[in-house]
């Protein structure tokens, strides 16, 4: 397959006449962007965890739909770039007005796990580049890949072959400091032959690529944007 099955972009779906379609699309955007936004506010704007959590909640529950998505013009900027600029404006205004949101004051339409995000900042820093654009991009990629890995795991379980995901996780989901096992090691550990390990890994990578590209398709607004994002994600400098 040269091109992922077309899914309407989430931004387009937030403008649907169907309320349920709009709700799911909005939830997808929040899922993809809340964590990059929270970390961005913490690191670029040097907000405390509580301040960043309040602003993130406020941004995604109240500001996102009416002030951000409605005014978005795909031909002028990538949605990710545009959203980050809106977030900058939002944080700047909040700072100017010395607005102090009471914790929990906003209406949470999805539970945002700020504690986990805070733990991630602690565990990943200072490996994250200081460049704020790069930081937002990297966190966006992290969120995209997290969802894609979860989808892959779910797909492997649904097909009754969770061991296939195990092979993928042992080889391609390594933490800092962990070394890649050999195929023979994995075969021994999982009770498979090395050839089966090879086949499982190839199949999982193939499926993972399809999932990632489809999710990327959802989060972009045009073919050109999708191509540029896919090329950067899969081929860009590390």
């Amino acid at each position: 397959m040269s091109f992922p099955a077309t899914r309407l972009s989430v931004v387009e779906r937030t403008r649907s006449s169907d309320e349920e379609t709009r709700r799911v699309a909005l939830a997808t955007i929040i899922e993809a962007y809340w964590k990059p936004a929270y970390k961005y506010l913490r690191m670029k704007w040097s907000l405390t965890p509580d301040e960043a959590a309040d602003l993130t909640q406020e941004f995604f529950t109240n500001t996102l739909q009416k002030d951000v998505i409605e005014k978005y013009e795909p031909e002028r900027a990538r949605f990710r770039t545009y959203l980050r600029m809106c977030l900058d404006g939002f944080a700047g205004n909040a700072r100017k007005a010395e607005r102090r949101l009471k914790r929990g004051g906003g209406v949470a339409i999805v539970p945002l796990d700020f504690e986990t995000a805070e733990g991630e900042i602690a565990s990943h820093e200072p490996a994250v580049d200081a460049d704020v654009d790069e930081l937002f991009y990297r966190e966006w990629v992290r969120a995209l890949l997290e969802r894609s890995v979860a989808d892959l795991k779910q797909a492997a379980q649904a097909s009754g072959r969770p061991v296939m995901f195990d092979v993928f996780a042992r080889y391609d989901l390594l933490d800092e400091g962990e070394t890649r096992p050999t195929y023979a090691d994995m075969a021994r550990a999982l009770g498979l032959t090395p050839a089966t390990v090879t086949n499982h890994l190839a199949a999982m990578r193939r499926q993972f690529r399809v999932i990632v590209l489809a999710r990327l398709r959802e989060l972009t607004s045009s073919e050109e944007e999708w191509e540029a994002e896919a090329a950067r994600l899969l081929g860009g400098k590390r």
Partner: protein, 309 residues
């Protein structure tokens, strides 16, 4: 593997920075047939990634350039295919040979080429290689580019990063991805690298001729020569990268000829030297005869003076 990021925490899997890189690599990993076994990544470019692979049929290492993403319009695929075809057509010792080409099951285009081991030209400069070695490498680049021009191909992205120097001094001009030949359509976007790109190439859809490469070769020569280079050498580089294409060397051969004159300490076309500079150059070129002549004159003078006494 107790703390492996594959374990889930809450709804989602936590992914470390390193895992992000691994996952990006995993999603991009090409699925080739059994003949080629990918063993690593050699480099990443604007359009694709170059992998190191084992060719099990011929039992040798090769490089495989794979498109990062197959676009719907197919323009990226067409460009990579054109690059492979250009390489196949340009059979020259200074141009990397292509062995095979095809399409992956996921639709991405790839081609297989010789794996060039060595260092990039910018590394040669960084490692303070002797000027003579740098100029030798540059001379080989000129040969390869002249060959391409003779076949109607303009590289359009000549720069130190796109030249590899092997362990035996062999030189390869790489990355012909934006090369222009008679089959190329005009590019909607600007192609090339600032600093190595002539003014006429900075306009989208602007067709360029071989003199665009002359400009890049001038920039390459200036980079290789360094700021401490002799004035005549700098003049050659400056003439080659004149903003006005009509004032540059009009072909690679005339640039190569002027460079050869510089290396032979003959007067060059790019620069009119003063009488003093001419004297210094002639002295350097004919150092031994000049010294012998001077010694003879001094000796005759001494003899005359001695007889006069």
């Amino acid at each position: 593997m107790g703390s492996r990021s594959g374990q889930t925490a809450g709804r989602q899997t936590l992914i470390s920075n390193r895992a992000i890189d691994r996952l990006r690599e995993a999603a991009a990993w090409p699925e080739l047939d059994a003949r080629y076994e990918i063993t690593g990544v050699a480099g990443r470019g604007g359009m694709g990634t170059v992998y190191v692979a084992r060719d099990h049929v011929l039992d040798r290492e090769v490089a495989v350039k794979v498109l990062d993403v197959a676009d719907q319009k197919g323009s990226r695929a067409a460009r990579l295919q054109r690059e492979a075809h250009i390489l196949a057509r340009l059979d020259h010792p200074g141009i990397v040979p292509v062995h095979d080409a095809g399409e992956l099951p996921d639709g991405r285009t790839f081609y297989v080429m010789k794996l060039v081991k060595g260092r990039r030209l910018d590394d040669l400069v960084a490692q303070n290689a002797a000027l003579a070695d740098r100029l030798n490498a540059f001379g080989r680049v000129l040969d390869a580019v002249a060959f391409a021009h003779a076949h109607g191909v303009v590289h359009r992205d000549l720069k130190p990063e796109n030249v590899m120097v092997g362990g035996f001094g062999e030189v390869y001009v790489m990355d012909w991805g934006v090369a222009q030949d008679s089959s190329a359509e005009s590019d909607a976007a600007v192609v090339g690298t600032p600093g190595f790109m002539p003014p006429e190439q900075e306009r989208p859809r602007a067709p360029v001729d071989a003199r665009a490469d002359i400009f890049a070769l001038g920039a390459l020569l200036a980079h290789l020569a360094g700021e401490a280079a002799p004035r005549a050498l700098r003049a050659i580089a400056e003439k080659a990268r004149d903003p006005d294409a009509n004032r540059r060397y009009q072909n690679v051969e005339s640039l190569a000829a002027d460079l050869a004159r510089f290396r032979n300490q003959d007067p060059i076309e790019a620069y009119r030297e003063s009488i003093g500079e001419q004297a210094v150059r002639l002295y350097r070129r004919y150092e031994l005869p000049v010294l012998l002549l001077l010694a003879y004159i001094v000796m005759r003078f001494v003899v005359l003076v001695w007889r006069g006494i």
